[in-house]
């Protein structure tokens, strides 16, 4: 595939050579523009103007070492990986020039072939990247819906509970009930409010003096606790109503029955 024979030494006699030299200088000055030694090697390989499969690795090694040497004379600082590559290429160059050593596990030709493969692969990836970027791209060549209609999310929540949850919940409550801290049990208490509520409608009809005990609610006189509570609150209620002028109270003698009369 070589389009021309290339000499291994530097060219002297053509305009091409001048151009090559200028290019080489540009390379050195532009060392920051390279993406590492492999990139530099690929650029150098291109100057051989051959298919990368035919590239002369030996020549490439010389080109690279010459480049590094030149950079050194120009006092350009090269990154460590350029120098590592230079050392390795110097080693490869010497191996390629010597007759093959049967003791060596990896032949110099294998190493050279792999380097050529790496260069070819990098070149292939560059071309692939260029082709990829040349494709029709979204937002540049191809366009999406300008007025997208979002999917409305209607979220519905359902609650679950099992019969076991229910039973456990109830059991929990009953358990707590058994152990609840002491509170006044209100079952046996007839409150002042209850008594007022009860007395108000009754008092209008009590035109004559009536024993207070007659106003106790039904069923509250059997149990002494309940009778005491009902009596107390009914008495308190009569005091309340007497104060507002709804009834009169009288007690004829100490510990005698308390009697009530409505004022109409």
């Amino acid at each position: 595939m070589a389009e021309e024979d290339f000499t291994e030494g530097p060219a002297h006699d053509s305009a091409d050579a001048v151009a090559d030299r200028l290019a080489a200088e540009a390379l050195v000055v532009d060392v920051d523009g390279f993406e590492g030694p492999l990139d530099l090697l690929l650029t150098l390989a291109r100057t051989q103007k051959v298919d990368l499969r035919q590239v002369s690795v030996l020549q490439l090694a010389r080109q690279y070492l010459a480049f590094v040497e030149q950079a050194r004379t120009l006092r350009i600082e090269l990154a460590a990986d350029y120098l590592v590559m230079a050392a390795w290429l110097a080693f490869l160059k010497s191996r390629l020039l010597l007759p093959p050593d049967p003791e060596e596990e990896v032949s110099a030709e294998d190493l050279a072939a792999h380097l050529a493969f790496q260069l070819e692969r990098l070149e292939a990836m560059r071309k692939a990247a260029a082709r990829l970027m040349a494709r029709d791209q979204l937002g540049r060549d191809v366009f999406v819906r300008g007025e997208p209609q979002g999917v409305e999310r209607a979220r519905r929540v359902t609650y679950t509970a099992t019969l076991l949850d229910l039973m456990q919940g109830y059991a929990r409550l009953r358990t707590r009930d058994d152990f609840r801290p002491f509170v006044m049990d209100r079952d046996g208490v007839f409150t002042l409010e209850d008594a007022l509520e009860r007395l108000r409608p009754l008092i209008g009809s009590a035109v004559d003096w009536t024993d207070l005990m007659a106003f106790l609610p039904d069923g509250w006189d059997a149990d002494p606790m309940r009778r005491r509570s009902a009596t107390a609150s009914t008495f308190a209620a009569t005091l309340e109503l007497a104060k507002t002028g709804k009834l009169d109270l009288r007690q004829d003698d100490t510990f005698g029955p308390i009697r009530v009369r409505g004022r109409g």
């Binding site: 007025e147 519905r156 509970a161 019969l163 109830y170 409550l173 058994d178």
Partner: protein, 210 residues
């Protein structure tokens, strides 16, 4: 390109494709003057729009007029495709379960009674949630001072929990047999006399429920 357009407008079918692409990609409805500004010189946007509109008749999207502009919109009969209902299942809160249990075991029951049994006030939200779930409903008013409303469980409640009647709910004895009530004294000893209540002062506190 621009030189070409000076001479001849693209064929109407091509104008139609162009408008189709413009309407599709535009974030807003596009007016006819706007279309003319964007199309090659000499195009007849109204004629091309007319064709495009006919092309989309009966399709999943339609070319519609929005004021003095044009847009592509979803066909109204397919609007249902644009909402997606997600159903999320959640466990009922402890407060709600307890309230529900009390209504189920004690119905008809007033809010005050529920609060007395739970020992805490019942939030409005809890009752509302249970009513929304259609598991409890209002029963008859209690014929006591204030005529408080009562709550009862619903048919839906019984369906959900697989009960024929509320009486099918396991009783305290059964709860105990199922190991749900193990750390407690028998229910007969429930405190209704103050003596019992006082005894409790000396009973060690129950183990942590949760």
């Amino acid at each position: 390109m621009s030189e070409e357009s000076l001479f001849e407008a693209p064929p109407l079918a091509e104008q139609e494709r162009m408008i189709e692409a413009i309407l599709f990609a535009s974030a807003m409805p596009v007016t006819v003057p706007d279309l003319h500004a964007r199309l090659p010189h000499g195009c007849d946007a109204p004629a091309a729009l007319d064709q495009l509109r006919k092309r989309y008749e009966g399709r999943g999207v339609r070319v519609v007029r929005v004021g003095d502009a044009w847009a592509i919109r979803t066909a109204p009969d397919l609007a249902f495709l644009m909402t997606r209902e997600t159903v999320e299942t959640r466990k009922l809160s402890r407060a709600a379960i307890e309230t529900l249990a009390i209504v189920a075991y004690h119905q008809p029951v007033t809010r005050a009674e529920i609060e007395e049994i739970r020992g805490v006030s019942v939030s409005k939200g809890t009752v509302e949630q249970l009513m929304e779930l259609d598991w409890i409903k209002l029963g008859r008013r209690r014929e006591t001072p204030g005529r408080p409303v009562t709550f009862v469980v619903t048919r839906a409640f019984m369906d959900h929990f697989g009960l024929e009647t509320p009486r099918d709910l396991p009783g305290l004895k059964e709860l105990r047999a199922a190991g749900l009530l193990d750390s407690t004294p028998p229910p007969d000893a429930l405190p209704d006399a103050p003596e019992d209540a006082q005894e409790e002062l000396f009973t060690p506190p129950p183990p942590d429920e949760d």
